[in-house]
Amino acid sequence: MLYCENARGPEGSFDDLAVFVSQLEAAGIEVGIGPHSVPSELSRNAIFDAVARVRLDQPGSGDALLLVKGHELTDRSLTRLRRLGAPANLRTLVLGRFPSFQSVIGAKMKLSYALGENPEVLDVPAGLGVGSHHLPVFGVKSGRGRRQDSRPVLLLISPDLKSDTQREALFALAASPLVRLIVLTEGETKQDLQKVFGQAVTLFHYGEILPVTLAPMADVALVFSAPSSSYRSQALLANLVVSGVAVADCSREKGHVKYANTLLQGPADLLATGTYLFGGILSAAGMIGREIAGSKFAASLDGGETLLAVRRLQAPAEALAAPVATGGTPRRSGRSKVLASEFQGGAEPVTSAPARETHPLVFVPTNGVGLGHAQRTSLIASEIDPKVLTPAFAAFPSCMKMLKSYGFDVMPLVSRSGLHRAEHENDLVNYLRLRGLTRGSKTLVFDGGYVFDSIYRSILENNLNGIWVRRGLWQKGQDNSIALDREKAFSRVIVPSEAFEELNEGYSQGSHIRTVGPIVQRQKMTTKRREKLRGELASRYGREFRHLAVTMLGGGVAADRSAQTAAICAMMASRRDTLHLLVVWPTATVEAGAYAWPNTRVVKTHHASALVAAADLYISAVGYNSFHEVIYNRVPTIFMAQMAQFMDDQQARAMAAVNRGCADIVAPDEMLSLRHKISAFLDGGRSAEIRAALSELTLPEPGNAEAAHLILELTQ
């Protein structure tokens, strides 16, 4: 294992180091960032870049040290290196600016006093164009990235978008049916553009995506920025070139062509870009890309002696015999062992990771206490013939038992906790786990509202078909801009529709958006089966009943429904003819008092659907799954909506049924009204009215099978 350290320690550029290490990883070199080069403060993106690469342990026997920017050694950094506690035979390679023999001698001497051994010292060739001369610039060819459709992808690198005219030109390009547009720009510019364009333009900022991940996504790249000393920019250009992307220098001064005349020259004005592209460049992009990839310039990006030395450092004996593979297919870094050792200081050697099972299709529902996303994905996954494909799940603990009961393998994710210092800390762990689980996978299906970094990054970095099962009916005024921004990582968005048309609303456009019928669990509840089930309940609870009422108000983080639950139990206490089942998920917490109410029984189950379908009255929250089970299974229901800011618009959903005479609704604070409604349902014939109205509905065909088909289509 190589430990890559910055000679300036945490004071050095962590971004440079992270990009460099990611490039080495992609070139098949097992390398991590050493513990002394991580600053105490990092941006959120940098933390995610770091967490998969930082080694917290000290190098051991057989490890080696790769020290970059070695010309910037200071006493402080030497002190840190002396602390490494490295074994006496720690092999070290130092890269940096060493233009003279004396500078090489000086670096060797200083480091030998800190580390105990003379390191190998190499002068890094100058960078592209501007001679940044600190880190070796080399290109890595990756497999072609996933696409949302068959259109070629046009990557615009730092276009000048200060004027309205240029922005309009960008918008026109984004609207073109001939290309799919991606813009790479600075963070602030991205924010500004998002305000203008919304989701109409796919935007990345530089720190958001590593060059090795971005380059495979492009077919044509237009570089509007002047040659930059930024290692990230140089690595991106190198990756584009060796990957066979048609690259054009669209900078005003045409500075890139001065050091790489194999690149095309293009217009700096976005107004001219369309003519330039559609006049022939786009149609010939494949050929142009191959020409560029086969050029001397591309050959010069093979890392040369520097990368050879790094390979020798990794495995001295083998490297001498093995051919250099730069520019070839990337080898997986074998860091899957990080999954097991993420908080053990990286103690386990990653090189000896055993071969592990790969899962072509992984579902990732996000759930806390409620299980709606997990239930929906399990319904879709159940439509997949296990002889064809066996999906695996990654899910939070609350969902695991349910998913396992359906027969799926589940890898646990870590829930957010108040004990975490930052709100995304659990997601760092999940990122490592998901990244490892989906290495070698083809498709990741996500069901949830917010696309976590772990999911977003796993899809991009493992080059997966990302499929987002995204139910609609977001509340008015919700800010879903971050979630929608991350739609760009997904090859397909499956939108399970609502049963009632007025509830369906599009949030983004494109051929990757596929709407399917409602995902719903239908119960074949015949009269005979219904009576049998009710008889079993009477037997189980030792009492006969005339009416069966089921309450399932949800709760957890969304809303506290303990007062309403107690009120309903109190109402049911006077009804000796009624069995009231208070149904909760097995992971939910139930007030102890609930067990003491006459006529009420607490039922913890993942399989509430059958109970609900057999009920004369169902008092329910209005989540997507509950609602559609009510509608499709024709259950007389009084809805009590949950209204948390981050949830879907349950009130609107409930009202669509209420307005059709297919359900009633009460507000959470209208307990007197609820008492009247319960009486109307159980004693006044309201249940029969509702059931009749439900029977009259013409409902769309459920979309379970179609969703499964859309997933299989990308996976197989």
Binding site: D75, R76, L78, T79, R80, R82, R83, S100, F101, Q102, I105, G106, K108, M109, K110, S112, Y113, A114, G116, N118
Partner: protein, 370 residues
């Protein structure tokens, strides 16, 4: 008051009519922080009375922004010599250029040298213990050769160790530089202080703070253990940078934070090991400790310069050596008294006699480079 280089007359004339008092010009970057400057300071004081001495100072990139070494400054003040800075030409019978490593970052030597005999004193070991070069020797010597016109040009080592390295380097590179047959050793005219009669396990070491001056942390911990009565380190700046690794029982002082004499008063054993990848070319600090009445324990190669005046050790038996002296206090005093006698062999009289004779031999065996 001595004047500048313009005061000298043509070198050839001087060769034809050699004066009774030898004209010697010292050429040095006076900003070396450690042993080189101290050695030159003593040399100025020793040779001032014996030769027609001038001091030329050059500014090299190695010490950019630094001040003149205070010890050297004091020597110049005491002798009344006014240094000539960056003279275009340094003319003299003999020019002594001290420590050529100071040129390692330069592209040229600022002063030209016109002389009969050019002496280059190799204060810095040209080879490290593992045989690799300590600095770009060829580059530094080339800069000197390119700017000097002389009849003979010699490398002068400061010790036997130093000589071996130069010999090996000359053999390895085939350089046309020649090494003189005598050493330009450091003058050690330190005040002799009688040893204590009641030694204790009070250990210490002093040096510049460079990383090369210290062995690994593990070795340091063994040489300065908690069991000792006292462990003092002067010049341990790099340990102070990383206080978490600092053993609580160590008393660490930054370089230059107290007078050397005061520091040495607090110890009885001077335990001096450098990093195994580096070695002192002379070990002036060792002589200073001996003169201050301390038993010095050091590695065998460094010890070789001082013969029986120090205890040679591979570092594994430091505790045993100290325990032996503590068990027999009279042996402690006897050892130091004998050591101080030996160190007197590095005095200024001996230096003057050796150097003057050597320079005369060089005159008789010049290479006729002119």
């Amino acid at each position: 008051m001595f004047a500048t280089a313009n005061r000298t007359t043509d070198t050839k004339d001087r060769i034809l009519t050699a004066p009774e008092r030898l004209r010697i010009a010292i050429l040095v970057d006076p900003r070396f922080p450690g042993g080189t400057s101290s050695a030159v300071a003593y040399e100025i004081k020793a040779m001032h009375a014996r030769a027609d001495l001038t001091v030329h100072c050059i500014e090299t990139k190695m010490f950019k922004g630094r001040e003149i070494n205070p010890t050297l400054r004091r020597a110049l003040d005491e002798t009344g010599l006014e240094p000539v800075w960056n003279a275009p030409i340094v003319r003299s019978d003999v020019v002594v250029l001290h420590n050529p490593s100071c040129l390692k970052f330069d592209d040229r030597l600022r002063s030209r040298i016109h002389c009969d005999r050019l002496i280059v004193v190799t204060h810095e070991n040209v080879l490290r213990p593992d045989g690799t070069e300590g600095f770009d020797v060829a580059h530094c010597l080339r800069l000197i050769a390119d700017r000097s016109i002389c009849r003979s040009r010699r490398l002068l080592p400061v010790s036997g160790n130093n000589r071996q390295g130069v010999e090996e380097w000359l053999r390895r590179t085939g350089s046309d530089w020649v090494q003189a047959p005598f050493d330009w050793f450091n003058i050690c005219d330190f005040e002799m202080i009688a040893p204590t009669t009641t030694p204790a396990d009070r250990r210490g070491r002093l040096s510049r703070p460079g990383f090369e001056k210290f062995p690994s942390l593990d070795v340091m911990r063994r040489h300065f253990p908690e069991a000792a009565d006292c462990c003092r380190i002067l010049g341990g700046d790099s340990f102070l940078l990383d206080p978490e690794t600092l053993p609580e029982h160590w008393e660490v002082h930054p370089f230059g934070s107290m007078p050397v004499g005061q520091f040495l008063e607090g110890i009885d054993f001077f335990v001096y090991f450098t990093h195994p990848q580096w070695r002192e070319s002379f070990g002036r600090v060792i002589a200073e400790a001996i003169c201050a009445g301390k038993v010095v324990i050091t590695d065998p190669r460094t010890a070789a310069t001082f013969g029986n005046a120090v205890v040679a050790s591979d570092g594994s038996d430091v505790d045993g050596i100290i325990a032996g002296f503590l068990a027999d206090p009279p042996s402690y005093a006897r050892f130091i008294t004998h050591a101080q006698t030996l160190v007197q062999g590095f005095g200024s009289d001996r230096f003057a006699a050796t150097v003057m004779a050597g320079l005369q031999d060089l005159r008789n065996n010049a290479d006729a480079l002119l």
